[in-house]
Symmetry: C2
Subunit: 338 residues, 2 copies
């Protein structure tokens, strides 16, 4: 790469000081009382020499990188692509750039990534925390590093966050299955300590109880993340072999639903005729299924946008404390019957 044109070069070209050039390049000619003609000359020379301010040098001086670090759980999740897009758009609106990395649900990677981003002096972090990452979060708090958690959070930690009410959403989903005539409602969820997913369990159970249905342990399928395909397959088989068999399945995430529906297809089970299906999150894939899949929908754009605005408030004035809980939508398809 050729050496870049620096402030100094423009200054030398015109026989003025770098200070003057700096003022003009930052549009401070008014406050700093720069002569109009000088400003014009400087602008002209900057354009002619194709000057591009070195953000690195700028950052070093101002101690602001205008960069947000984003750690997502897995780039393949629909939630991730949606929220990343929203974050990027909102960041750009505020003249911020996003540096991004994926933890792939690994606590080690999460820690390493946080380190890398902090060393790069990002102004703040937006995080989808992984299982057992409380320590890392506490470290950030202790060191006054501005951050916002999204999607997931830890009830014991008093951190800024933007998420949905998972309990309520799961409650509503389950209640809908009951209302559409189902009583043997299976529930497929990851086997995890992540609070937001446990909240979905709680919502499921409570909705059943409130409708006079005793939760059946046999209808709850715990899926190990590492054995996703296997556990979903076995789980579906299992609940269909019960007596009485499951009359519906509630999937706690879109990924689980996709794998579940694949198996349901393979087993030639009719939806909604033989089995009602409901997914917590949506997926583009649902559109190719034999019938429209009823599902919840998180306000992903809002989550991303609010995460950025909260973070930027935090960066500007670190007194902010916000725990934003959003409502999630419910999209009626035909997979639960009428």
């Amino acid at each position: 790469m050729k050496r870049k044109v620096a402030l100094k070069d423009i200054a030398k070209e015109l026989g003025v000081s770098t200070a003057l050039v700096s003022y003009v390049m930052n549009n401070q000619e008014e406050e700093k009382g720069v002569n109009k003609e000088s400003a014009l000359k400087i602008r002209e020379a900057a354009a002619r020499l194709n000057y591009r301010p070195n953000q690195i040098a700028k950052s070093l001086k101002t101690n602001k990188t205008h960069t947000i670090g984003l750690i997502v759980a897995d780039i393949a999740y629909r939630f991730t692509t949606g929220v990343t897009r929203a974050i990027e758009a909102e960041a750009k609106k505020n003249n911020y750039t996003v540096i991004f990395g994926s933890s792939d649900e690994s606590n080690k990677k999460f820690h390493e990534l946080a380190n890398v981003l902090i060393n790069r002096q990002v102004d703040g972090l937006i995080l989808v925390p992984v299982e057992n990452s409380e320590q890392e979060i506490e470290y950030l708090q202790k060191h006054d590093i501005p951050f916002v958690l999204i999607d997931r959070y830890f009830p014991g930690l008093d951190a800024n966050m933007v998420a949905i009410d998972n309990y309520k959403a799961a409650y509503q989903c389950t209640a809908h299955l009951v209302k559409t005539g189902h009583r043997n409602i299976a529930f497929v969820n990851y086997k995890t300590t992540l609070f937001h997913l446990q909240e979905r369990n709680r919502g499921y159970r409570q909705a059943l109880q409130d409708n006079g249905i005793e939760p059946q342990p046999g209808l709850v399928i715990d899926v190990r993340e590492k054995h996703l395909e296997e556990d979903v397959r076995k789980g579906i088989k299992q609940v269909m072999a019960l007596n009485p068999a499951a009359d519906s399945v509630f999937f706690a995430t879109d990924i689980l639903a996709i794998h579940g529906l694949k198996n349901i297809n393979a087993m030639k089970i009719k939806v909604p005729g033989e089995l009602g299906v409901l997914s917590f999150d949506e997926s583009e894939a649902f559109e190719l299924f034999s019938c429209p899949v009823t599902h919840g929908r998180q306000p992903i754009e809002d989550i991303g946008k609010l995460a950025v605005t909260t973070l930027l408030d935090l960066v500007a004035n670190n007194k902010v404390k916000r725990r934003i809980v959003l409502e999630s939508d419910f999209i009626k398809g035909k997979s639960c019957g009428e």
Copy 2:
């Protein structure tokens, strides 16, 4: 954010110079002949004070940011998530970070993003160029900014690139449809000047001709990106209304295929019975379709990996010229019949 611990602070703490600390922190104690005891003391103090080197300052001095700028076309594409993940992984292996942005197929955004990334002094760029971005590419070349194009490229520009042979892949796909007994093969593609997509048209036509089938203009559906849903819907209706009607459809991208299949579902057309279907790229969504969709598969991981290694070679020694053309796979489903 609290003021960070700097080299200076460690130096002051121990009453030594920053140079010594710097040598130790960069593991150069051997070459620079630092006393073992001093090194130990320095390491201990660094750990105790929780020193984190300021990458910004480092970059300013070394003129290397260890950062790759990545501009993708749209974060919602499967190609994007796959290739981004591969790029990120390979970058990390080489101690590089990825800064990333999405052009959303807009030339203006593409230009702005390139600017932002260059100002941030990325060491190099990996680009999925958009329509009419030749100028921007030429600008990069003129200014010796290291970059690698992926997925798409311009035949007239002699740039480093990693992509598949779109002509050949499309040829093979079309030939497969012929071999499975189809003769009225519709082709759905974007209406675009992008070379890689035109190559798919060329492959389609040539395969037909080589099999003694005269290409029918009425079977080719041009989809405007801005009117994706509408044009796909009308297009499918149109080719099914022909006399003779289309007996199969070849979709030039996964997104087109998803929208096509959605309509095929809605129109209750049986696949492969009434209509053969083939998609150029794969999608997770295909797994929920009533039958496994036959499709091409790009070696996405290889593309990402090779893009990074090529770029890093380029950064290290700017004499590299590489035009890497990879083969694409073909996954036989059941959507074309036997």
